[in-house]
Symmetry: C2
Subunit: 226 residues, 2 copies
């Protein structure tokens, strides 16, 4: 159903013996999704989990009124939907392809044994879930204890760190997407970008953002007022 080299390329399965990889790829389904296509919905039965091969996937919550809170964006090599395997059986959120994406699906049974036999897979999973827990902790902190400018600053600083401290950033998501990631709405994000530009903290042109005052941003991200 899927190619062994694709399975072997997944960090989660790093160091897995060749025959196990073969077995896994025999049962994994290789699926494609178009931009905007739904992969699963909150409440769906979680009969397995997914790994992004190419493209990008958004995992998000939806409120009754239609507001969206993005929990996480996943790119190539990253697994998602595993939580349903270990607790609760149902997906706690929605997943949708942000662009044309190729995605592997591993059915649940394929997996129980694998983990027992391969402690390294279990360790990888533990590390993975821990990292995600840490991210969620940060998101909760942001939502509860920071205002939008603080969250935006934290995000920009995170991007800057990811690029070895570069101050020339190019958003890899739309601003509406970024708003959803920060727990706000596009209008608010737009106004705050404007304000931060006027104050000389950043320079913003479309998806290109240049950081002008790193310390100013840091103080904002820590919780300093405007």
């Amino acid at each position: 159903m899927s190619r062994p080299e694709d399975v072997a390329s997944i960090p989660l399965f790093e160091g897995l013996p060749g025959d196990e990889v073969e077995q896994l790829s025999a049962i994994a389904a290789d699926r494609s999704f178009r931009r905007g296509e739904s992969i699963f919905l909150e409440g769906d039965e979680g009969d397995g989990f997914y790994v992004v091969l190419s493209g990008r996937v958004k995992v998000f919550k939806l409120s009754m009124e239609g507001k969206e809170q993005t929990l996480h964006l996943f790119g190539p090599g990253e697994p998602f939907g595993e939580v349903a395997l270990f607790a609760g059986r149902r997906f706690p959120a929605n997943a949708e392809a942000l662009e044309e994406s190729r995605i592997l699906f591993f059915p649940r049974e394929a997996f129980a044994g694998l983990i027992r036999q391969n402690p390294s897979v279990a360790m990888n999973l533990l590390a993975l879930l821990s990292v995600r827990l840490r991210r969620f902790t940060a998101l909760i902190e942001d939502l509860s204890l920071k205002e939008v400018p603080g969250r935006l600053s934290a995000y920009l600083l995170y991007l800057s760190r990811q690029r070895q401290g570069g101050t020339d950033l190019a958003l890899d998501v739309t601003k509406a997407q970024l708003a959803s990631l920060l727990g706000t709405i596009p209008e608010t994000l737009s106004r705050i970008l404007g304000r931060m530009s006027r104050q000389g903290l950043i320079e913003s042109d479309g998806r290109r953002i240049r950081i002008l005052d790193l310390e100013g941003l840091e103080s904002l991200a820590e919780g300093g007022g405007f």
Copy 2:
């Protein structure tokens, strides 16, 4: 350092062979904390993890201005601080005893081997982290997509479910604590309890809350307006 029967009573170690329990209890430190005493601070090096034997522990984030967001309350049998073992090495939040508590500390090295040798411990941990991830997902949803009355309703319904659908609830935390759990402040919580009482949704007297209109609460928790 600690008693084997205490270690054996921890659900995480369920089904662990006797000699492993002995080994673990030999290296686990049995510590006591007074009400309000700090167990660790955000940013501290995580050289191990903890399990509550008795009492209660609050894990929380603190903002610059002193507002607190409770992430989780832990009771007897529950481990906390494990995230630092698998990712990041440092605690992402603060922990403090809410009351006189006895707590076991397991140093990091005690553990790496244990997991490799005992798949069931690894599975227990995976399940544990998954449940926590699910809770955090719900908390993020609450903070981002619901207003305080919705969060409070969800919490009351959760308490009611925990008590087999009973409608007579007794808070086991102070209202200030509850406010922090819901991501708000005591004043706001107080006003909203008042409003919900006036509307006949609940009856509130000190820490005793009686649910009068289950459906009304459910509609609020789903995101319906007041």
